[in-house]
Amino acid sequence: MSADANDGISRRGFLAISAATLGGVVLAPGIRLIEIAGARAPEQAASDKVRWGLLIDTNKCASGCEDCVKACALENGVKSTGHARTDPQWIRKVELKDLRSGRTHSVPVMCQHCEHPPCVDVCPTGASFKRADGVVLVDRHICIGCRYCMMACPYKARAIVFQDVTDQNPDVPRGKGCVEGCTLCVHRIDHDRQPACVEACTKAGHNAMIFGDLNDPQSEIAQRVAKYATTQIRADLKLNPGVRYQGL
């Protein structure tokens, strides 16, 4: 917008620009390029009207492909120290084989961001918490490193940092003695970007992962979940995770 009110945009011009903007934003009924509902100003708090989720189509997940895993490690500064058993892994590919049918799957598993997270229930200090928009996080300021959440998580989603950490990504603070896990890349999604794993998968052309607002009926993820059969891992535990899978 120009500072001078007098010259610059005429009435015709103004109408033209508005029409173009609206047209650019609404391509076809029901599908929008920009998720206007999801856009949140930085001063605004997260709202429980939103429920972030992931949809992973395992039919498109190749065994041996680790694009999401590598992207997550790069984004969050999780480095391998050569000790596989103590290195944190925020996301991993689980290779499955069905005993009865012989069918195999390759499934990326990360924190499932449950609606009723057992890790939040058991945390003695309340460091493990669920944000209003459904993201389950660890408040490392009050985490005492008791590892009870690691015991309680059915998905083995969490890890504890066993050694000093240096050269952290300024967007992702992490340090020794505190428990950590997939954050759904809150530092990205709060600025209307995609989690690193989803972005990497899309960029590489696999398109196996979708991120979006499960509560928004217009979002791609909500429409797919309504249309196709999806499952949750260990749905019998009734934790209602925000991560759903197709093809399992």
């Binding site: 605004q44 209003a132 050269d167 967007d171 992490r174």
Partner: protein, 132 residues
């Protein structure tokens, strides 16, 4: 029962130690072993508040802000720790830590433990690609 002699001697030794302990604060004035803090503002511009306010209240500001950012997702740039580090990191070392680091030199002098940088990056993000 202990004999009177050993008891009295023990009492005298204990009193002497207590007296010496009370004199320890004198050492505070004794030497310049702990270097005075080096406060060098490398980058121009104003801080969030004036110096006196910052000195007094930065722990509370950080604590209040961290809960807002962590638990509510409020990410105003002005009061984020990242912005503090981005501005106050030394242009020589690139960090707020180190002997003459902005945060560390004051904290060393005041003998207050810095817990932040066990987890938070003490160096600003390199300007490659996406902004915070």
């Amino acid at each position: 029962m202990k004999s009177n002699g050993t008891g009295a001697l023990a009492g005298r030794i204990a009193r002497a130690i207590c007296l010496l302990a009370l004199l320890l604060p004198v050492l505070a004035f004794a030497s310049d072993r702990v270097p005075k803090p080096v406060i060098s503002i490398d980058k121009p511009g104003r801080c969030v508040e004036d110096t006196e306010t910052m000195r007094l209240e930065h722990p509370d500001m950080l604590k209040h802000q961290r809960d807002q950012t962590m638990r509510e997702g409020i990410r105003t740039r002005q009061r984020s720790l990242k912005e503090c580090v981005g501005c106050h990191a030394s242009t020589k070392t690139g960090s707020v830590l180190g002997e003459k680091g902005f945060c560390q030199s004051c904290h060393d002098y005041a003998s207050v433990r810095l817990d932040c940088f066990g987890c938070h990056a003490s160096k600003p993000k390199l300007a490659t690609g996406a902004k915070p």
